[in-house]
Chain length 245, copies 4
């Protein structure tokens, strides 16, 4: 048990490094993200940072893996929500909404992995892990679509492949994230609260696919409330608290 404390410290610092890196990325942009500044910010030496991540690219990959894993886990839990497929896919939407707020820089990091030399220099096991996580995410989502089709709740348009609906939801989500985290003046169309914009379109798209809404009267609010309470209470609480707490 003597080791456990050390290990905990290491794990904590691991987290600290990633959080710091994320914050920099979000706050001051890509160019502000460098190993020197991270070391300075966490008040450890550069060498120590390198004992956690063998290179800058490895760190970036770790950031991506971490949030991707969180996202997958949230989606898996969402998919497990008890109810009709439409309710379960709605839970995914809720998960996504929460995820944006919890990890607003997620797609920034993912995009970084493309622009940079990350693929060449990140440790292969991280890349492999990443791929597995994404596979699991797709499996979960596809499960809901399949269930919906089987249950007769969803009839895909003729010629539309099985995955098109997922691609639509995915695009909406990615686009939303990108627009959200841009420092641009986007007040053009965003006159709604952050989540509303995504959530509204999310459901409209599902409606467009004629994914059968629940029992005549579909009460968004109530279902969302149930999802939050039954599946994402922790995340919901965390976001409701004042930021500094």
């Amino acid at each position: 048990m003597a080791l456990t404390r050390k290990q905990r410290e290491v794990a904590q610092r691991d987290q600290l490094i990633r959080d710091t890196a994320r914050q920099m990325l979000l706050g001051e942009g890509y160019h502000a993200l460098n190993m020197d500044r991270i070391a300075e910010a966490i008040e450890y030496s550069k060498g120590t940072v390198y004992q956690h991540y063998s290179s800058k690219e490895d760190l970036i990959a770790a950031l991506a893996v971490e949030t991707c894993a969180k996202r997958t886990a949230m989606f898996q839990r969402a998919v497990g929500f008890r109810g009709r497929p439409r309710e379960r896919i709605a839970a995914v939407g809720v998960a996504d909404r929460l995820f944006v707020d919890l990890y607003p820089e997620h797609f920034k990091v993912e995009h970084l992995m493309d622009m940079d030399t990350v693929f060449d220099k990140a440790s292969p096991d991280k890349l492999e892990k990443m791929h597995q996580i994404k596979d699991r995410m797709m499996d979960a989502l596809e499960g809901v679509v399949r269930d919906a089709v089987e249950a007769g709740d969803l009839a895909l348009p003729e010629g539309a492949p099985h995955c098109q609906v997922l691609y639509g939801l995915w695009s909406l989500s990615v686009g939303h994230h990108m627009i959200r985290t841009a420092p641009h003046r986007t007040e053009h169309f965003i006159k709604q609260s952050d989540g509303e914009a995504l959530w509204g379109n999310y459901n409209v798209l599902l409606d467009g696919y004629q994914w059968k809404p629940l029992s005549g009267e579909w009460d968004y609010r109530q279902t969302v409330q149930r999802i939050l309470e039954e599946v994402f209470w922790d995340e919901h609480q965390r976001l409701s608290e004042p930021a500094g707490a």
Copy 2:
């Protein structure tokens, strides 16, 4: 008039610089984009490049402005398509589809502007211009939505602000672009041809908004054909030609 030739040469080189920068960005990624390589590629000196763009950030901003202007222009032309609002907004969808293929790096550049120090160092007039362009784009798009509502073709869901539908379309588009240009393995959901995926969801979203389709039988293909012929013949031709020509 003696100056005119000079001016033309300058403008040509301007274009050459931007095209070269774009190509590098798309082909070899952000890290390969540097002033040395650009100068080398265009076979002019670095000093000359700096006479066109006062800094690297200024060049990147210019790239963004250029494609954004193209996009706006295409959207404006799309909006001017003669027909019912649904046809006009379909024309916007067609424009977007063409735009992705013509300037696949557009959102990469836009994203660069966020991650980088671009906003601080790019010339203010470029940023101003950018804003104007985006405003014009929004005006054009909003016009269609307003017309649709006035014509009774579109009834926005209760509580949904006027711009939500645009935000949905915009997110879809941005998300699609980002996913497209990622070197990731995205074969997960993309089993359709490039344009299909976007186009399909674009229309489903409109359907979701219950934006009235034309005259009972809505013939996608025929309308698209008309749009291409009447509005985007040039762009369509350019994309159909063999790349090298």
Copy 3:
């Protein structure tokens, strides 16, 4: 006596460290030689390595001292070979030949001591020891030359100081070692087996000094055989065995 086991363990580890360092130097070059890798290779911690050697330079000095001592010891035994001076100096030649094969990195290490900061940072007693060893080596060698001169077997050229012959042999040896351990393409002149090249010139140089060969017919092979059997049987055996044994 309880300590003795501990002491033995320490001495063993001492040897292990030096052997490991040597192997790295020979196999992967100077840049691969660092305290981290040594610690890893011997499966002890870096701190432990530092308990043996107070600095990297101290370790390198120890390597040099060790092989230098071996070399001196071999030369002293060679010099003690029973026979005429020419036979005794031949025994030195045989010793050198064997030494190259046993410690091919010896001059690499010695050279390192020059290039590096070794002299400033190695423990003074090691440097002192080194000097003593070299003195002893010279004493042994000079003894043979003196005996040869006294016995009338060798008449140094006019004006040639007493030590010139030794300097010649020494240069030959050092040069041979350096050429041998270079990864260069040296196939230019080396068409002989490894030892032959050195051995041949060694004797030719002695002949050049008109160092009287034994009894009319000088049989290289037989004398070498006798030297190996009577003086260097162990070393000879060790080199004849398969490497892995």
Copy 4:
């Protein structure tokens, strides 16, 4: 012709960089040799140094190539000395003696090329050039040996390959250089002036090979004088001048 001045300046700085690097290597050892210090010493920026040599390894390779070329050139001139083979090979000896004094760090640099990652990172053309230079050197030397054999001046010992004599001379030279440039206390055997030690053994080795000396009485001094005057006057003068001049 306008360019010529620039080019001259560049060439001069090229030389300055190499000279500075050499000086550091000789004076303060390998660890003192780094790009920062070189830049500082030549009073140019690091970037400028890198415009001359693309990497540290490339610079080291350049050092080696330069002195190796000088050496080859000197040997080629020596070989061209008019006289019997023995006189010509003596001229090579003289060349070597001068070379040691002119470029005392030569073999240090050559050795560096082995220890370092030089082979991997130096520009391939430099490595190729190096090889060619060495080939030319060997050709020149072999020519003399062949001529000596054909002229009946030299009868190689039975079984000794054609190149053994060259290997002997080469070893002597390398060994001498290494011993000379070592900061060790080598006063053990070196009681002669610098050149004497090498020169003496050089000739003794040739005698050992029974390479026929000239006309009964062979006058070293006079021949050396002739060689210096006819072939290496420049080098000889340069070395005779006070160092600082």
